[in-house]
Symmetry: C2
Subunit: 110 residues, 2 copies
DNA sequence: ATTGAATACATTGGTAACTTAGGTATGTGT
DNA sequence: ACACATACCTAAGTTACCAATGTATTCAAT
Protein backbone atom coordinates (compact mmCIF):
# COMPACT_ATOMS: atom_id res chain seq x y z
CA UNK A 1 0.00 0.00 0.00
CA UNK A 2 1.31 3.32 -1.17
CA UNK A 3 0.85 6.13 1.30
CA UNK A 4 -0.65 8.24 -1.48
CA UNK A 5 -3.75 6.10 -1.07
CA UNK A 6 -4.41 7.81 2.26
CA UNK A 7 -5.27 10.99 0.41
CA UNK A 8 -8.07 9.35 -1.50
CA UNK A 9 -11.18 11.38 -0.87
CA UNK A 10 -9.27 14.38 0.48
CA UNK A 11 -8.70 16.13 -2.81
CA UNK A 12 -12.02 17.93 -2.86
CA UNK A 13 -11.79 19.45 0.64
CA UNK A 14 -8.18 20.43 -0.03
CA UNK A 15 -9.08 22.24 -3.24
CA UNK A 16 -12.00 23.93 -1.53
CA UNK A 17 -9.75 25.09 1.29
CA UNK A 18 -7.21 26.48 -1.14
CA UNK A 19 -9.87 28.38 -3.04
CA UNK A 20 -11.26 29.58 0.28
CA UNK A 21 -8.00 31.33 1.03
CA UNK A 22 -7.00 32.50 -2.43
CA UNK A 23 -9.91 34.35 -4.04
CA UNK A 24 -9.23 32.70 -7.39
CA UNK A 25 -6.83 30.11 -8.76
CA UNK A 26 -6.29 28.21 -11.98
CA UNK A 27 -5.75 24.50 -12.24
CA UNK A 28 -2.05 24.34 -12.84
CA UNK A 29 -1.53 26.88 -10.08
CA UNK A 30 -3.35 24.60 -7.66
CA UNK A 31 -1.08 21.65 -8.44
CA UNK A 32 2.01 23.78 -7.94
CA UNK A 33 0.71 25.39 -4.75
CA UNK A 34 -0.19 22.07 -3.18
CA UNK A 35 3.17 20.57 -4.01
CA UNK A 36 4.89 23.63 -2.58
CA UNK A 37 2.74 23.86 0.54
CA UNK A 38 3.19 20.19 1.38
CA UNK A 39 6.86 20.21 0.44
CA UNK A 40 6.21 17.54 -2.12
CA UNK A 41 4.31 15.24 0.23
CA UNK A 42 1.20 15.61 -1.89
CA UNK A 43 1.28 15.93 -5.64
CA UNK A 44 -2.10 16.36 -7.24
CA UNK A 45 -2.25 14.81 -10.67
CA UNK A 46 -3.96 16.67 -13.45
CA UNK A 47 -6.00 13.59 -14.25
CA UNK A 48 -7.56 13.94 -10.82
CA UNK A 49 -7.76 17.71 -10.61
CA UNK A 50 -9.33 18.77 -13.88
CA UNK A 51 -12.28 16.38 -13.73
CA UNK A 52 -12.84 17.47 -10.12
CA UNK A 53 -12.85 21.16 -11.05
CA UNK A 54 -15.28 20.48 -13.88
CA UNK A 55 -17.57 18.56 -11.57
CA UNK A 56 -17.52 21.26 -8.90
CA UNK A 57 -18.26 23.87 -11.54
CA UNK A 58 -21.15 21.76 -12.76
CA UNK A 59 -22.46 21.48 -9.22
CA UNK A 60 -22.40 25.24 -8.78
CA UNK A 61 -19.66 25.12 -6.17
CA UNK A 62 -17.21 26.94 -8.40
CA UNK A 63 -17.40 29.45 -11.23
CA UNK A 64 -14.78 29.67 -13.93
CA UNK A 65 -13.51 32.58 -15.96
CA UNK A 66 -11.14 32.24 -18.86
CA UNK A 67 -8.28 34.62 -19.23
CA UNK A 68 -5.42 35.02 -21.66
CA UNK A 69 -1.93 35.62 -20.44
CA UNK A 70 0.07 36.38 -23.52
CA UNK A 71 -0.98 33.64 -25.89
CA UNK A 72 -1.74 31.09 -23.22
CA UNK A 73 -5.10 30.38 -21.69
CA UNK A 74 -5.85 30.25 -18.00
CA UNK A 75 -9.09 29.13 -16.44
CA UNK A 76 -9.56 30.78 -13.09
CA UNK A 77 -11.86 29.23 -10.54
CA UNK A 78 -13.44 30.78 -7.48
CA UNK A 79 -15.96 29.69 -4.87
CA UNK A 80 -19.58 30.62 -5.36
CA UNK A 81 -21.70 31.51 -2.30
CA UNK A 82 -22.83 27.89 -2.35
CA UNK A 83 -19.18 26.93 -2.55
CA UNK A 84 -18.35 28.99 0.53
CA UNK A 85 -20.83 26.92 2.50
CA UNK A 86 -19.58 23.72 0.95
CA UNK A 87 -16.07 24.66 1.95
CA UNK A 88 -17.02 25.33 5.55
CA UNK A 89 -18.83 22.04 5.73
CA UNK A 90 -15.92 20.18 4.17
CA UNK A 91 -13.55 21.78 6.66
CA UNK A 92 -15.65 20.59 9.57
CA UNK A 93 -15.69 17.09 8.15
CA UNK A 94 -11.94 17.22 7.61
CA UNK A 95 -11.37 18.23 11.21
CA UNK A 96 -13.65 15.50 12.51
CA UNK A 97 -11.79 13.07 10.29
CA UNK A 98 -8.41 14.15 11.65
CA UNK A 99 -9.69 13.94 15.22
CA UNK A 100 -10.92 10.41 14.58
CA UNK A 101 -7.61 9.34 13.07
CA UNK A 102 -5.83 10.69 16.13
CA UNK A 103 -7.71 8.13 18.21
CA UNK A 104 -5.56 5.46 16.60
CA UNK A 105 -2.33 7.34 16.96
CA UNK A 106 -0.56 5.36 19.64
CA UNK A 107 3.14 4.45 19.50
CA UNK A 108 2.40 0.81 20.34
CA UNK A 109 1.72 -1.43 23.29
CA UNK A 110 3.96 -4.35 22.62
CA UNK B 1 -19.55 13.68 -1.38
CA UNK B 2 -20.08 11.66 1.76
CA UNK B 3 -17.61 12.27 4.53
CA UNK B 4 -17.08 8.52 4.81
CA UNK B 5 -15.08 8.85 1.60
CA UNK B 6 -12.32 10.57 3.55
CA UNK B 7 -11.54 7.29 5.26
CA UNK B 8 -10.74 5.59 1.99
CA UNK B 9 -7.26 4.16 2.29
CA UNK B 10 -7.13 4.50 6.07
CA UNK B 11 -8.64 1.15 6.91
CA UNK B 12 -5.38 -0.78 6.74
CA UNK B 13 -3.37 1.48 9.06
CA UNK B 14 -6.29 1.62 11.48
CA UNK B 15 -6.56 -2.15 11.64
CA UNK B 16 -2.80 -2.47 12.05
CA UNK B 17 -2.86 0.03 14.88
CA UNK B 18 -5.65 -1.81 16.65
CA UNK B 19 -3.82 -5.09 16.36
CA UNK B 20 -0.69 -3.37 17.56
CA UNK B 21 -2.37 -2.53 20.82
CA UNK B 22 -4.50 -5.61 21.34
CA UNK B 23 -2.35 -8.72 20.98
CA UNK B 24 -5.11 -10.48 19.05
CA UNK B 25 -8.55 -9.66 17.74
CA UNK B 26 -11.20 -11.26 15.57
CA UNK B 27 -12.97 -9.57 12.69
CA UNK B 28 -16.28 -8.83 14.25
CA UNK B 29 -14.54 -7.55 17.36
CA UNK B 30 -12.62 -5.07 15.22
CA UNK B 31 -15.78 -3.62 13.70
CA UNK B 32 -17.33 -3.23 17.15
CA UNK B 33 -14.19 -1.76 18.70
CA UNK B 34 -13.76 0.82 15.94
CA UNK B 35 -17.37 1.90 16.15
CA UNK B 36 -17.04 2.20 19.92
CA UNK B 37 -13.69 3.99 19.88
CA UNK B 38 -14.84 6.54 17.33
CA UNK B 39 -18.28 6.93 18.90
CA UNK B 40 -19.88 5.86 15.67
CA UNK B 41 -17.92 8.26 13.49
CA UNK B 42 -16.34 5.34 11.67
CA UNK B 43 -18.18 2.14 10.93
CA UNK B 44 -16.11 -0.46 9.19
CA UNK B 45 -18.20 -2.62 6.91
CA UNK B 46 -17.57 -6.34 6.91
CA UNK B 47 -17.35 -6.28 3.14
CA UNK B 48 -14.29 -4.09 3.51
CA UNK B 49 -12.76 -5.69 6.57
CA UNK B 50 -12.75 -9.39 5.76
CA UNK B 51 -11.08 -9.07 2.35
CA UNK B 52 -8.49 -6.80 3.97
CA UNK B 53 -7.73 -9.30 6.73
CA UNK B 54 -7.40 -12.07 4.17
CA UNK B 55 -5.03 -10.01 2.10
CA UNK B 56 -2.88 -9.06 5.08
CA UNK B 57 -2.75 -12.68 6.13
CA UNK B 58 -1.69 -13.64 2.63
CA UNK B 59 1.01 -10.99 2.72
CA UNK B 60 2.41 -12.37 5.97
CA UNK B 61 1.45 -9.29 7.93
CA UNK B 62 -1.04 -11.20 10.06
CA UNK B 63 -1.48 -14.75 11.25
CA UNK B 64 -4.85 -16.26 12.02
CA UNK B 65 -5.94 -18.89 14.49
CA UNK B 66 -9.40 -20.38 14.60
CA UNK B 67 -11.12 -20.87 17.90
CA UNK B 68 -14.50 -22.15 18.98
CA UNK B 69 -16.55 -20.27 21.53
CA UNK B 70 -19.47 -22.49 22.30
CA UNK B 71 -20.65 -23.57 18.88
CA UNK B 72 -19.48 -20.46 17.12
CA UNK B 73 -16.23 -19.91 15.29
CA UNK B 74 -13.88 -17.05 15.83
CA UNK B 75 -10.86 -16.26 13.73
CA UNK B 76 -8.27 -14.42 15.77
CA UNK B 77 -5.67 -12.32 14.01
CA UNK B 78 -2.38 -11.04 15.34
CA UNK B 79 0.59 -9.18 13.92
CA UNK B 80 3.57 -11.18 12.74
CA UNK B 81 7.08 -9.75 13.23
CA UNK B 82 6.78 -8.45 9.68
CA UNK B 83 3.43 -7.03 10.66
CA UNK B 84 4.96 -5.17 13.59
CA UNK B 85 7.27 -3.38 11.20
CA UNK B 86 4.44 -2.78 8.75
CA UNK B 87 2.41 -1.26 11.56
CA UNK B 88 5.18 1.11 12.59
CA UNK B 89 5.66 2.20 9.04
CA UNK B 90 1.93 2.70 8.55
CA UNK B 91 1.79 4.77 11.72
CA UNK B 92 4.52 7.06 10.46
CA UNK B 93 2.72 7.49 7.18
CA UNK B 94 -0.51 8.18 9.01
CA UNK B 95 1.13 10.88 11.09
CA UNK B 96 2.72 12.47 8.05
CA UNK B 97 -0.66 12.36 6.39
CA UNK B 98 -2.35 14.07 9.32
CA UNK B 99 0.38 16.70 9.47
CA UNK B 100 -0.09 17.41 5.77
CA UNK B 101 -3.84 17.73 6.13
CA UNK B 102 -3.33 20.19 8.96
CA UNK B 103 -1.60 22.49 6.47
CA UNK B 104 -4.98 23.10 4.91
CA UNK B 105 -6.80 23.57 8.16
CA UNK B 106 -7.52 27.28 8.13
CA UNK B 107 -10.86 28.77 9.21
CA UNK B 108 -11.04 30.89 6.05
CA UNK B 109 -9.84 34.15 4.64
CA UNK B 110 -13.01 35.62 3.26
C1' DA C 1 18.41 26.56 -33.82
C1' DT C 2 17.00 22.78 -31.48
C1' DT C 3 15.96 20.27 -27.59
C1' DG C 4 14.03 19.69 -23.12
C1' DA C 5 11.57 21.45 -19.34
C1' DA C 6 7.98 24.25 -17.66
C1' DT C 7 3.41 26.17 -18.32
C1' DA C 8 -1.49 25.24 -19.17
C1' DC C 9 -5.41 23.00 -20.71
C1' DA C 10 -7.69 18.36 -21.38
C1' DT C 11 -9.26 13.16 -21.92
C1' DT C 12 -9.03 8.06 -21.71
C1' DG C 13 -8.37 3.55 -19.58
C1' DG C 14 -7.28 1.06 -15.72
C1' DT C 15 -7.38 -0.02 -10.78
C1' DA C 16 -7.57 -0.06 -5.64
C1' DA C 17 -10.46 0.29 -1.94
C1' DC C 18 -14.23 0.71 -0.88
C1' DT C 19 -20.08 0.11 -0.44
C1' DT C 20 -24.21 -2.43 -1.03
C1' DA C 21 -26.30 -6.42 -0.90
C1' DG C 22 -26.56 -10.75 -0.08
C1' DG C 23 -25.55 -15.72 2.09
C1' DT C 24 -24.84 -19.07 6.20
C1' DA C 25 -25.28 -20.19 10.96
C1' DT C 26 -25.64 -19.76 16.15
C1' DG C 27 -27.14 -17.26 20.37
C1' DT C 28 -30.29 -14.09 22.98
C1' DG C 29 -34.15 -11.31 24.33
C1' DT C 30 -39.42 -10.53 24.10
C1' DA D 1 -42.09 -16.53 16.64
C1' DC D 2 -39.46 -12.95 15.44
C1' DA D 3 -36.07 -9.65 15.54
C1' DC D 4 -31.54 -8.53 16.70
C1' DA D 5 -26.79 -9.58 17.86
C1' DT D 6 -22.82 -12.42 16.99
C1' DA D 7 -19.63 -14.34 13.59
C1' DC D 8 -17.90 -15.74 9.36
C1' DC D 9 -17.94 -14.91 4.22
C1' DT D 10 -18.41 -13.38 -1.10
C1' DA D 11 -19.91 -10.91 -5.43
C1' DA D 12 -21.15 -6.90 -8.05
C1' DG D 13 -21.05 -2.16 -8.53
C1' DT D 14 -19.13 2.57 -7.49
C1' DT D 15 -15.85 6.08 -6.69
C1' DA D 16 -11.89 8.57 -6.77
C1' DC D 17 -8.12 8.35 -7.98
C1' DC D 18 -3.32 7.34 -11.12
C1' DA D 19 -0.78 6.71 -15.38
C1' DA D 20 -0.51 7.78 -19.83
C1' DT D 21 -1.30 10.56 -23.50
C1' DG D 22 -2.48 14.64 -26.35
C1' DT D 23 -2.35 19.69 -27.70
C1' DA D 24 -0.08 24.05 -27.63
C1' DT D 25 2.83 27.91 -25.96
C1' DT D 26 7.01 29.79 -23.52
C1' DC D 27 11.57 29.70 -21.77
C1' DA D 28 16.33 28.10 -20.74
C1' DA D 29 20.24 25.74 -22.13
C1' DT D 30 23.46 23.83 -25.41
Amino acid sequence: MNKQSLYKGCLEPIVLQLLGSHNRMYGYEITVKVKELTKGALQITEGALYPLLHRLEGEGVLTAEMEHVGNRMRKYYRLTPVGQATRKNALNELNDFIATLQLFNKPAIS
